[in-house]
Amino acid sequence: MALSKRRRAQVVRGVQYGVLVVAAVALALAVDWQQVRHAFLDADAAGRLFPGIILTGLKNTLVYAALGFAVGLGLGLVLALMRMSSVGPYRWLATAYIEFFRGVPALLVFIAFGFGVPLAFQIRFDTYSTVALSLGLVGAAYMAETIRAGIQAVPKGQVEAARSLGMPAGMAMFTIVIPQAFRIILPPLTNELILLTKDSSLVYLLGVARDEYELTKIGREALNVSPNLTPILVAGLCYLIITIPLSQLSRYLERRTGGRRISSPESTGLEVKA
C-alpha cells in the first residue's frame, strides 16, 4: 500500500516527535529530582546572592564586555584596514596578529596581560584596563575578519561614485564604505559581543577586589559559603539575561538587513544575496 508523499511526511514527523517525548520522559525519570533540588534549587542560598549578584556581578560583566568590545572594535577596524592595505608589511603584520590571537586560548592572553606584561614592562594596569585589553586583543582578531568581509561586501561602485565626486580614498572609506559595512555586519558583531560577555568570566584568574567581581566570580565565591551549587545556577541565569536579548537583537538585525549576511568570523567565505 503506497502512502501519499504528504501522508508519509506526516508519519515521519509523528515518529520524530514520539522519539523526542520518550527520550525526555526517560531522562526525567532517570534524574534524582530530590538531589537536584538540594543541589541547585535552594531558595535561601539564592536569596543570599541578591542584590550583590546584580549590582556588582551583572554590572561588572556588562562593563567588562562593553570595554572589551570597544577596544576590540577599534583595533579590529585598524587590523581590517591593514589586512587590505597595498603595503605588504601592514598586511603581514595584521595576518600574523589575527592568526596568533585567534589561535591561542583567551585564558592565556588573560594570564599574559594580568601577570606577564606588568612584569616585563614594570607597569601596573588596574583590573578594568587589564580586562579591556585582554578581551579587546582577542576580540579584535575575530572582529577584524568580520569587518574586512563587511567592507568587501560593499559594492565597488560605491567607492567609484565617491571618488568621482572628488573624495580622497580615506574619506570615501570612512564616510561611504565603512558605514555601509557596519550595517551589513551588525548581526555577526552582536554575536561577537555575546562571546566577549562569556569570556569576561576569565577575570577570575586575576586577583581582583570584591567590587570588581563579575558573575562567575561571585558565583564561585558564594560556593565557599553555600551548602550547595545554587549560586552557579543563578549566575548562569544572569548570563542569559544578557545574552538572550543580544541574540534576539542579532536575529532581528539580520532580518532587517534583508538577507544580506556575512558568515561567522571562523569561515572566510561570505554570502551576499542582493
Binding site: P155, A161, S164, L165, G166, I176, Q180, R183
Partner: protein, 255 residues
C-alpha cells in the same frame, strides 16, 4: 569654441589585454559626444580614463587645462569638476537623497549646510524629483535613482559630465525620463560624453558620434553621418544589429 577635453595617444591594457590602442579625441566646451560600439570595444574604459578611475597605460588626458596623466596631479581636485553617472546608479545606499547630494559638497567643497542644501534642492528640482528629497535610495525606482545620481553630480557644478550607459539598467518605460533630463542638460550647454546604445538619443542630441571597435575609434562625425550613412563596414554591421536586432543573417555571432 575652446577645448575642454584633450586626449592623445591614449592606451590602456589590463595585463596582456590591450583594451584601448591609441585614442585621440578633443571635446570642445558645450559639445555633446556620444560613444557607440559593440560590447567589449573599450567604451567604458575610455570614459573611465577621462576621470582616471582607470589609470591609462600610455598617452595624455587633459581636462580643462589640467593634465590628469601627470603623476603629480591633484586627482581629487580634478575630479570635482568632472561628474560621472554610472549604469548602476551607485547612490550611497545608507544616505537619504538629500545627504547623497550634500555629502561631497560639504566634505569636499567645504560648503556650509545651508548652501549645500540650497544647491541640492535646486538640482533635484532640475531633474524633477524635488518631492523625493527625504527618500532613501532603496525607495526609488531605477529611473528616479538615476536622476538623483545626475543631480548629485550636478551639485558639484562640474565642467564636464560623463555618462556610462545611464539607461541600460532601466526598465524601458523609465528610460525616457532619464534621457529627458540629459537632453535638457545638453540644451543648457553642458559638455557631455555619453556612452549609449540609444541611437535615437544620439541622433537627436549628439553634436558628434564616435564609433569604437577593438580599442580604436573607427569612425567619427556628425550623428546623421555616422548613424545615418556610416562609411565603414564595421559601423554598418554594428548599426544594423542595434537598429534591427531581429534581422540578423543565420550564423550571426551576436545572436
Amino acid at each position: 569654441m575652446s577645448v575642454l577635453v584633450e586626449i592623445s595617444g591614449l592606451r590602456k591594457a589590463f595585463g596582456p589585454l590591450q583594451v584601448l590602442r591609441g585614442i585621440d579625441l578633443t571635446v570642445s566646451r558645450g559639445e555633446v559626444v556620444c560613444v557607440i560600439g559593440p560590447s567589449g570595444s573599450g567604451k567604458s574604459t575610455l570614459l573611465r580614463c577621462v576621470n582616471l578611475l582607470e589609470e591609462p597605460t600610455g598617452g595624455r588626458v587633459v581636462v580643462d587645462g589640467v593634465e590628469l596623466t601627470d603623476p603629480d596631479v591633484d586627482i581629487d581636485a580634478a575630479r570635482r569638476r568632472i561628474g560621472m553617472v554610472f549604469q548602476q546608479f551607485n547612490l550611497f545606499s545608507h544616505l537619504s537623497v538629500l545627504d547623497n547630494l550634500t555629502i561631497a559638497q560639504r566634505k569636499v567643497l567645504r560648503r556650509g549646510r545651508a548652501e549645500a542644501e540650497r544647491v541640492a534642492r535646486e538640482n533635484l528640482a532640475r531633474v524633477g524629483l524635488a518631492e523625493k528629497i527625504d527618500a532613501m535610495p532603496g525607495q526609488l525606482s531605477g529611473g528616479q535613482q538615476q536622476r538623483v545620481a545626475i543631480a548629485r553630480s550636478l551639485s558639484m557644478a562640474p565642467e564636464l559630465m560623463l555618462f556610462d550607459e545611464p539607461t541600460s539598467a532601466l526598465d524601458p518605460e523609465l528610460v525616457g525620463d532619464v534621457l529627458g533630463v540629459m537632453r535638457q542638460l545638453a540644451d543648457e550647454g553642458m559638455t557631455m560624453m555619453v556612452v549609449t546604445h540609444e541611437m535615437q538619443f544620439a541622433r537627436e542630441v549628439a553634436d558628434r558620434v564616435l564609433f569604437m571597435d577593438g580599442g580604436v575609434v573607427v569612425e567619427e562625425g556628425p550623428a546623421d553621418e555616422v548613424i545615418g550613412e556610416p562609411r565603414h563596414e564595421r559601423t554598418r554591421t554594428f548599426l544594423s544589429r542595434v537598429l534591427d536586432p531581429t534581422h540578423h543573417g543565420p550564423g550571426d555571432p551576436t545572436s
